[in-house]
Symmetry: C2
Subunit: 285 residues, 2 copies
């Protein structure tokens, strides 16, 4: 059976790499890596793309839990999610073998492959991506079962996200586009292989938890990301190293007694949530 791959851009309307990759593949044809695959191309949130915003009313990429998909929420993105569940799902019973959803971040995360499961397929994929693109980061978010995730890519039998930065919202950088495209085509090439290669284990990161900004009595931030942490996504943050600098000039250092691997450092989309970064541990896949 020819594998069915759904390739998605514009789940967030101001993350330009995926939008441009879909437009380019539509205009110029699919890449060689797609040979032997049934690849469908999707721009997930046209209204948000048109408005050049992350979302119009609610974050589309937080709508795909079973409970949200059963709800009658009337927000534009909740309605859109139920429509996408009909075309790409239904979740848990989809004909799509893999959904690849392409994102950007304002954090300096380079090309990051986000996996939601560590089954044999995902582990083999991680090792292949890391072999073909050694500078890539592999991030495993397995804090909950695959089907409980709220991400669009979980509509497929399997789903992964390509997350590339640093790129400001609404900006298309050539260097970031090329990284997103390279990782996407490596994933397609892997899917097209009838015999998956047997590769040695690779290093990866497992999501920890969100670390919040310190807030003052008015709910406003009292500190910013320290310049020594800024742009150092996935590099070790050691106990005692600076994390925040308060606006009255004091340093706040890493308070845990083990190192962590911060990512999504100073991500613009988490502004309203006051998330400073996410922590991670180093693992082998």
């Amino acid at each position: 059976m020819t594998p069915h791959i759904a390739l998605i851009g514009g789940t967030h309307g101001n993350e330009s790499s995926g939008i441009q990759i879909i437009r380019n593949y539509r205009r110029l044809g699919l890449p060689d890596a797609a040979q032997g695959l049934n690849v469908s191309l999707h721009l997930a949130n046209p209204a948000a793309i048109n408005a050049n915003v992350r979302y119009v009313e609610d974050d589309l990429n937080r709508q795909f839990t079973p409970a949200r998909l059963r709800s009658n929420d009337a927000s534009q993105e909740a309605v859109l999610a139920r429509h996408l569940n009909e075309t790409l799902g239904p979740k848990g019973h989809s004909d799509v073998d893999l959904v690849i959803d392409i994102h950007n971040t304002t954090s300096n995360m380079g090309a990051t492959l986000i996996l939601l499961d560590d089954d044999a397929f995902n582990v083999q994929l991680a090792r292949y991506v890391k072999q073909q693109m050694p500078q890539a980061n592999i991030l495993l978010e397995d804090e909950k079962p695959y089907n409980e995730h709220a991400y669009l890519c979980t509509l497929g039998k399997r789903g992964v996200m390509v997350e590339v930065g640093a790129q400001p919202q609404g900006v298309l950088r050539e260097d970031i586009l090329l990284q997103a495209q390279t990782m996407t085509e490596i994933i397609l090439a892997f899917c097209a292989m009838s015999d998956k290669p047997d590769l040695p284990p690779c290093s990866a990161f497992r999501l920890g938890e969100n670390v919040m900004y310190p807030l003052d009595d008015f709910g406003l931030r009292s500190a910013m990301i320290h310049h020594e942490l800024q742009d150092r996504d996935f590099l070790p943050l050691m106990p005692g190293q600076p994390v925040f600098r308060s606006f009255d000039g004091k340093d706040i250092t890493w308070w845990e007694d083990t190192p962590t691997y911060p990512h999504f450092i100073n991500e613009a989309a988490y502004h309203k949530l006051d998330v400073a970064f996410a922590s991670a541990s180093q693992i082998t896949l």
Copy 2:
């Protein structure tokens, strides 16, 4: 007479440096550089700041032409502009000696002082800023008379903008904040001097015109900023050097027969306008 300086942040609600500088000065007190000055602090567009967007309905920093201020436009920002004209203006008859409006750009423009006139005050200010902060860029936008500009800062007898990048919208970077604060305090120190220093001429840039992205038959961009131009704001772009890379892989080179000094390269806020960058010539002030 004590000079009256109005210091403004949040004219665009997702440009964080100015917003934070105003909040810090309110909370922690004015800097030493403000001694001898009557400094008022303003967050220009609270609704846009709260929503973390550039503007709610219309760009506030394009509302301050005499014609727009006489209009009955009902957009939130047009109404806000008329209110600001009452508190900081009226335009052309203000008691405010200087409005300093602090902005951010996603372009790699470093710390840039934008002047709208080349009278003796502005020239002396440019020379002083350049002496105190040699890495700063001075940009003169004098393509129209001072009062015909649509910028908020033109409510004052004089007005300048502090424009610092690269910083994504909605993100606060420590390095960018410090540059914005340093330039702001240098301007305040200049204003506080009863005898302005007599300094030698300095290099600066004069705004040319907007250079647009090439568009296809559907009105979509057919090319992106070339990686060799990206982040090279205010560096010379020579005839024949690459400007754009088309999505089908062709380079488009600088078509004029004289060099230019691009800035606002790949600025997110100009996305909808399809402005790729602004050109400039090198001048001496």
